[in-house]
């Protein structure tokens, strides 16, 4: 296997079930180096689970996942070593509340990468500057707005020098006026050539930044292609229906007796 031509993220026949509930029903997906892929779809469609399977926060029921040529799903793989190469940003930020912003960035570098305090602090400051929050280095996360916390979370992931960044609905927990700053940081990151996989509801971001958009529903990929095609001129009826609901909720047709979203709400 040559690592050069290989996709940065490669997902083959991925299935995931929680008990009897099948969340992923066979996903095949590749993300090339430097590519930005946005995953969209109704809630319960399995898009977050797909993302969490890439760094093995969820153990797939079947199928294989490769990141940078290493099989993540290999039972003998050093998963901690693989995860160091994959940055992840969560919907709920998940900053460490018991240490300062700067320590949020230095703690993982020191404990996981074994960097000395001085080097870790330097990298921390570089990355805080990158997200525009260097002046908050000494603050505790609770003192920051949601948007600032999410930017710190991005900086924390970047401080580990990842090859790939995963974003799990990074702006869904934010007040609308704070979304822009986080998206701006992500846009900058995409411009720097980072390989990114982004689960999002921000269609304008997907359309503008994504090289490719993947639409998921019911645990399957329904449609994928260039952003302007999937978001701008979707081929599948389900994609069109979803986009109508997202882009103009008030104009959407009333839901049938049982919509996909209702079914997802009841899922465990």
């Amino acid at each position: 296997m040559d690592a050069g031509g290989r996709a940065e993220i490669e997902v083959r026949g991925l299935r995931k079930a929680f008990g009897d509930h099948e969340v992923l029903r066979g996903i095949d997906l590749e993300v090339a180096r430097g590519e930005v892929v946005c995953v969209i779809g109704p809630s319960g469609s399995g898009k977050s689970t797909l993302l969490r399977c890439v760094n093995l926060l969820e153990e797939p029921t079947a199928g294989r996942v490769f990141v940078g040529g290493t099989e993540v799903t290999d039972p003998d793989v050093d998963i901690d070593a693989v995860r160091r190469r994959i940055g992840m940003v969560f919907q709920q930020f998940n900053l460490f509340p018991h240490v300062t912003v700067e320590e949020n960035l230095t703690l993982p570098q020191r404990r996981v990468l074994g960097r000395d305090g001085e080097a870790a602090a330097r990298v921390a400051r570089e990355n805080l500057e990158r997200v525009g929050l260097l002046e908050k280095a000494a603050a505790y996360p609770a003192k920051l707005s949601g948007g600032q916390q999410q930017r710190v979370a991005i900086a924390r992931a970047l401080a580990m020098d990842p090859e790939v960044m995963l974003f799990d609905e990074p702006t869904s927990a934010l007040d609308p006026e704070l979304v822009g700053d986080v998206l701006a940081v992500m846009r900058g990151l995409a411009g720097d050539g980072m390989t990114m996989m982004v689960v999002t509801h921000e269609m304008s971001f997907a359309r503008e930044v994504a090289d490719r958009v993947v639409f998921m529903d019911g645990g399957r990929i329904v449609e994928e292609g260039p952003a302007e095609q999937v978001v701008g001129a979707p081929r599948q009826a389900r994609t069109r229906d979803f986009l109508t609901r997202v882009l103009d909720p008030a104009a959407a047709a009333p839901p049938g007796p049982e919509s996909a979203a209702d079914r997802a709400d009841r899922a465990p």
Binding site: D80, R83, I86, Q92, A157
Partner: protein, 266 residues
């Protein structure tokens, strides 16, 4: 039949009755108790004065030392048992569960007697390091660990799952994530209940009474009781009691302050 009193009148009557009952109870105690005899038995000033400074420099000091060493040992053991209780290895969970039920279900006094008698019997020739201090730390710690383990387990489970997930996705191993991220937050959560446990231990250290101790090793209760029998007067008991309150009341106050702070932060 409907009452002819208005709501305000009824409230006044009800309050009036409650104050009257309280005043009557206070008056009854004041009149009926034999204050003279009580004072002679419990509050002899010269006797009280003779207790100082030894009651502070030896007895209170030993009480504090016993409590702190028992607490430290109990905290360490409690943390281990809490982690065993949360382990993915079933036998660890069983052992931890049995330990907790066993030591919470027994009177602390029995455990002290067990430590004093059974341990030397079971392991002949071995001495518990630290002599009496070691025995007390062991006895108090064994009991405290059972309670603290449950408290710490609850604290660990109160740390949001996302914290572990964030740490793991940064490349922390499970153990490192526990030590660097989850446990520091869990301990913060359990500081108020653990301080409460410290108050309980402070009082339980009186069980040292049932271990043979030298004069220098006496803590407040033993000291008070010994001097009470020497002087045929209970004043030392009263002074010893006041020494306990000197520590437990501020600690109790601290617990309430910490709980209020945690409540606000949470």
């Amino acid at each position: 039949m409907t009452s002819r009193l208005t709501r305000r009148q009824r409230r006044r009557v009800s309050q009036g009755v409650q104050y009257a009952v309280f005043a009557a109870a206070v008056a009854a105690v004041a009149v009926l108790a034999d204050w003279e005899r009580l004072r002679n038995q419990f509050a002899q000033r010269d006797l009280a004065r003779e207790l100082f400074p030894e009651i502070i420099t030896t007895a209170l000091r030993n009480t504090v030392v016993y409590t702190v060493s028992g607490f430290a040992f109990g905290l360490a053991l409690g943390l281990v048992i809490a982690l065993m209780r949360l382990s993915s290895v079933a036998p660890y969970r069983w052992v931890a569960g049995v330990y907790i039920e066993f030591f919470r279900g027994l009177p602390a006094l029995l455990i002290f007697i067990f430590v004093g008698v059974a341990v030397p019997l079971a392991f002949p020739g071995t001495e518990i390091p630290g002599g009496t201090y070691g025995k007390v730390a062991l006895g108090l710690g064994l009991v405290a660990a059972a309670y603290m383990a449950e408290t710490i387990r609850a604290g660990i489970q109160a740390v949001p799952r996302g914290q572990m997930e964030a740490a793991r996705s940064l490349g922390f191993s499970h153990a490192r994530a526990m030590v660097s991220v989850v446990i520091p937050q869990a301990l913060r959560i359990v500081i108020p209940p653990l301080t409460n446990e410290l108050v309980l231990l402070f009082k339980d250290s009186s069980l040292v009474l049932f271990l043979g101790v030298t004069l220098e090793e006496r803590e407040l209760t033993k000291f008070g009781r010994d001097l009470a029998s020497q002087t045929a007067n209970s004043t030392p008991i009263l002074v010893a009691g006041l020494c306990y309150l000197l520590v437990t009341v501020p600690l109790g106050f601290l617990v309430r302050r910490l709980e209020a702070r945690t409540g606000r932060a949470g």
